[in-house]
Symmetry: C2
Subunit: 363 residues, 2 copies
Amino acid sequence: MTDRHLYAVIMAGGIGSRLWPRSRKATPKQFLDLLGPRTMLQDTVERITPSIPMERVLIVVGQEHTETVRSQVPDLPVDNILVEPGPRGTAPCAGLAAVVLAGRDAEATMAVFPADHRIADAAGFRKAITAADRIAQDGYLVTLGIAPAYPHTGYGYIQRGDLLQGTDAVPAYRVRRFAEKPDAETAQEFVRTGKYYWNGGIFVWKVATILAAIGTHLPKLATELQAVAAAWETPRRGEALASAWSHVPRTTIDYGIMEKAARIAVVPVDIGWDDVGNWATLSRLLEANEQTNVLHGSGRSLLLDTKGSYIYSSGRKLVTTIGLEGFVVIDTPDALLICPKEHAEEVRDIVNRLKEEGLEEYL
Amino acid sequence: MTDRHLYAVIMAGGIGSRLWPRSRKATPKQFLDLLGPRTMLQDTVERITPSIPMERVLIVVGQEHTETVRSQVPDLPVDNILVEPGPRGTAPCAGLAAVVLAGRDAEATMAVFPADHRIADAAGFRKAITAADRIAQDGYLVTLGIAPAYPHTGYGYIQRGDLLQGTDAVPAYRVRRFAEKPDAETAQEFVRTGKYYWNGGIFVWKVATILAAIGTHLPKLATELQAVAAAWETPRRGEALASAWSHVPRTTIDYGIMEKAARIAVVPVDIGWDDVGNWATLSRLLEANEQTNVLHGSGRSLLLDTKGSYIYSSGRKLVTTIGLEGFVVIDTPDALLICPKEHAEEVRDIVNRLKEEGLEEYL
């Protein structure tokens, strides 16, 4: 039923610093069971495999997490783990997957998405990918546009233009422009028009199309990718990749390609998407108990006069609180975080301070 | 210089439940280094030994903490540890010490005080004990009256009556009455008059006087104490004590004796006394850093936008907070407490809930 040339490329290189102290260097966000019994990576794989079989799923990951991917996705063919020598942003990551796929299947189309997002409506997601695949066959770089739930100022927006053909149920539009993170007033205006979508970082394109776009807009990356491609099926693969990655400029798909390219389409979706950005947004996605608190982890808790809070504790640790409202408490064996939910974004500042002060053991 | 018949009796049987989760069954408050490098028991012993040598210091403690007392006060003669079979309140505790001392020294006078109070002015304390000793020789039951720092509603008060002789520098008064914990308005009136003192639970009396008072006001306790005294220097000591303690009614020095007895005196003191009742009062006694926070324990902390808070962490645990003001955070290896300081008294409710729910391992 699905296009047999359609591949999934899961980018599993994120850090998730706002979900510290659970998200750590050794086990970043995408490898954690933040939302349920499975990890976010496992959820991401299981969401797509009804449409795209495991043999056509690729995961791009850093060297230090290769074993984690193998153990979390044991059915994935080993050759489908692409190991990045270091993080260079999403453009080199997607470019690497593109040249590898080009070597396997000249007709390949790839759907690219992060390993650390939540999508409640998995069937809707797959339907949108199928629709985007169809548009991509006409040489479009296609992005999914997330129907904005509210005027979020922390996301980039995509403004749609003219209607393109889509599947019966799923329309598609040309993209008029990408807008960077707006101020509150602008965000409200965006949402009011009904013509703007959140940029969720989910893309579908033919490998030939994206490689051509990289050649045009990121020629330095294109050159390095050619060197990698030439060495891929030789013993020099690792060496070539390391050399290329020491030269490729750090850039993202959005800034490096989508904002510059001409033939861009958007497939609007309303699929319960969330980037699970911080502890406050995570807690909104989870079921609260009668006292409006969300309790997670293997530990115990005893909460007096406490409301609207998210409590995580591990092992047999007992967390007790009195008189808290709207708090986040994350207790791991070696690090504890306490903050009101409205400060959840500033967890990134904690992580930066730890780096500055050389407290590596807590990162 | 000091009366060679004067003994110190330190009551080390408290629980300190409002200082949970550091104060636990195995190591209650008095055995913790809450205020400095030494434990509260060690501070209490060192405060009195310049006046009363170690041979005349007795510590009354429960069976389960005998070894803790030995290790924390290694210079204490073993015979000076009196082991209570179980907690029965302060009256049986003091009564036990009285009959033991009566067997050692017919002229004995005893100064009785808890092991878990802070007294900043140790010299002033010793001077007051010396003055109280002098009054006690005239057959008074003497209590120290703490000059109230503010209209506290959590303490009992002592109203003074006529002036008695004291030492030159330290006056003494007859006690007019003991007042139970007052409401806020009454407490303010008490403090305004200048004739009321906090009841700090520090007493001085001749052994003969207190035993007579017990005989009059707590005849059942007196009978049991006589049986203990008769068996004390025999192999039946433990058995007799256990039997007596299974019968003695639970009561305190204040309710059982002082509020009923006739010849009661008070020696007013202003010695930086504090009962270190809960985490909020404890934190007021400690030096804050430039950010107005008090940091304790061997762990680390990283506090962003956090003020007026008390943070304890053990081991190498890192505690991080964002946007807290006036909080208590106590992180021990198996239990964590978080509350605003104004809820610090309710820590007792946590401990009660743990008991109710049978979570013994955290008590």
